[in-house]
Amino acid sequence: MDEQLNQAPCGFLTLSTEGTIFSMNEMLLRLLGYQQDELDGQHINVILSPSAQMFFQLYFIPMVTHKGFVEEMYLSLVNHQSEEIPILLNASKKKDSQPSLIDCVFLPMQRRNDYEDQLLFANKVAKDALNKKQEAMEALEAKQAQLIKINKQNQNELQLAKKIQETSLTDAFGNDKIQIESYYKASKELSGDIYGFYQINDHQYGVILLDVMGHGISSALVTMSLQSSYQKVIPKGMSPASVMKELDSHLHYLFHHDEEAWHYCTAIYLLIDTEKQTMEYINSGHPPAIYQNKQGKQETLGATNPPLGTFEGITYHSKTIRYDKGSRLLLYTDGISELIGYSYLKELIMNSPGKSLTDLKEEMALKLKQKQKRYDQKDDQCFILVDLK
């Protein structure tokens, strides 16, 4: 071996095609800490780590045999002290040598190797993170699908509840003394409004309209609870003060010491006597009902008391007005007046003589529908029309 190659700043090695060491330069011996006679005639495996021995058979031999050269092969050598030395290897089959020989050049790459290890590690961490993200995304999608399913079930449940709530409402009613029509529309699925009208005897009728604060499930549950309560007392012909007292007590009882669940409610109750032609009423914080006599004179049935469920132990006092035959009455919740305006309601009643009660109801419903298209419906809507004949 010429001196220049012997001292060149790289390891140099000549191998037989089977991997037997034929010759090597001084630099390689120094790198590995071996003496020449310790390696001459040995298999290259002596200076390869176990993994490198495998890799050498799996890739080096096939590639050199098939292509005649190897470029940039990474291997780890093992020195005399059994320490691994990462190297980069280029090799080529010698032309016309007999026996066939392979020249190999080694470049140690300790620092580059450390850096590469870190890069590969960072790459692995990034890949793992990506996989985890993917898994998390899939889990999230599954959860979302589950939520959609649950939401759909809830929707179905709400629709059913709405049906139940609507079924509990009393139907339009009429005879030769009195006619009653009603309109009822929930803001979402369930309403916080509720009403009822009852014939107490052949000349007395009870008409009630309530608006529980809020909307949705909780308010609707309170309406149903109040309904079961007033259904017991109104048909008995109890006085408006007793009816309201009963409902007020019911609310206080329901939310006794429970601030969080507390709901109050506005209500108006009328006890109509067709024989005496009187209306005895109590308005507990509810929007004023509009009464109009045969001559077109309007009167409002404004609040006589604070809302139900607010102050405990109040005494309810009713007011009584006499009515003429041919009078008309409108009761409504604030969901109506806020949408189409109190003055419009008054005007509507004012212009209504001659119109049948059902036509008037249709007209109001249409107006509500038109307004609703322009504004988001935020509150429940309910009104009751009464003709006193």
Binding site: S51, F55, Y59, H66, Y74
Partner: protein, 277 residues
Amino acid sequence: MERNVVVRNNVTIKGKGTKPILFAPGFGCDQSVWSRVSKSFEEDYRVILFDYVGMGKSDIKAFDYEKYSTLNGYAQDVLDICEELALKDAIFVGHSVGSMIGMIASLRKPDYFSSLIMIGPSPCYLNHPPDYFGGFEKEELFGLMDMMDKNYIGWANSFASTITNDAEHPEVAEELEDRFCSTDPVVARNFAETCFFADNREDLPRVTLPTLILQCSEDVIAPTVVGEYMNQRLPVSTIRYMEARGHCPHMSHPDETVALIHEYLEKLESEKIGGLT
């Protein structure tokens, strides 16, 4: 589907004979490893060569992590090739893990094959002391895989297919003429894990075909003790110790390899005739 098997495994058929001989490569490289051996069979045999999915010019789109996480997946592909080519009594020549793939295939459909020739086979690379010495500790096998990761042999290919969004531009992969040992690194690692952590020792006694083991000297991957272990457990086997050193006698010592295969096949033939008379 049938056409796909040929494309999927890049099946090549050569030779003037009718008796089929199937060459299965070992881990790492494609069917060109057989070029120095298979030629001498072309006069008398129907020579069939193929690549595993992910190797050489096979269809990488057919790669399936789950299927190829066991040698069974690779064996299934061998059976697909046999079925597609309507093979019967084929001689199966496998190198290294290729021998195990052929053995598994023969256990599932023995009729396709007449004999197994195993070059440098090992049923299990891991040591299982005290009864079995496969040659490697787990750390050493992981070390091999780390070394593969750092060799970027298939890196250029995988990079090319990544930037062009592979599936829609198969022509890019085809432009790379000689892929020999270059494989997509992810596929190569997957294959390496499947190969080097396989344990087929329990299958050995169930093999029904006559088997030749070609045992190299100083083979670090399939040491002599492993070849002898196989020879003891295979029901009808012969072991021949080769002059060749290392793990790739079909490349480094093609003449010796060819001679030993011919010798064995002739012996089988004469036994068959002898058995009939």
